[in-house]
Amino acid sequence: MQIINHPVLEDTVNDEITFHLDGKSFKAYKGQTVAAALMANDIKKFGHSRKLQKSRGLYCANGRCCNCFMTIDGLDHVLACMTLVEDNMRISLNNSDPDIRSDRDGN
């Protein structure tokens, strides 16, 4: 959930933007990270782990733990907590390893 009237910080109204997560559109504000934009839309599960297939979400928010890896605008394994959300950004959650045998790189 978005905090509209922050108890301490001054009200600054940033531009609203639209991002697309796995084909669905969501709203966020400029200046937020991708991780925060997802949390604001009540999306807490950012993907699952490789070995045990367990749900993962934001943990350190500081670019250290790598639990927020996701695919952003076609680039795999981007840290969502260190990346600012942008208008029309296309995001996919980290639900499987990238398909290295796909044709997308012309191979």
């Binding site: 782990s49 490789r50 670019g63 250290r64 733990c65 790598c66 639990n67």
Partner: protein, 114 residues
């Protein structure tokens, strides 16, 4: 605590696996890393290092001051291969692409005080 509790979040190594490694003679974080893959995932031990050091203390009784931190290597953060290979006009004497070679040749020694 439940022995199946995850210690290393990246490689999903649990307490039982760490304790087995200690039973096999592991005394440092790096010993455990080599035996279990603990700390070898994308975060490179940044989250689990002290949890593991504490387990070594709890299980083997070795004081924390005698359990060195993990040996952390270049590149320090998730870096794309294309990024490492990007610099074709290096301003320094060594090229950027050599960073892997340097990390292999330069970092063999242990800098910690014994």
């Amino acid at each position: 605590m439940d022995q199946s509790t995850i210690v290393c979040r990246c490689e999903e190594i649990n307490i039982d696996e760490i304790e087995t490694a200690i039973k096999m003679g592991a005394e440092t974080f790096d010993d455990i890393k080599r035996l279990t893959r603990c700390g070898m995932g994308p975060c490179q031990a940044k989250v689990c290092m002290n949890l593991v050091r504490q387990l070594i203390y709890d299980y083997a009784g070795k004081p924390l001051s005698d359990i060195p931190p993990a040996r952390l290597r270049m590149p320090l953060k998730v870096t794309r291969m294309e990024t490492l290979a990007s610099n074709d006009s290096p301003s320094s004497s060594s090229s950027v692409i050599s960073v892997f070679n340097e990390s292999a040749s330069n970092q063999g020694g242990d800098i910690r005080e014994k």
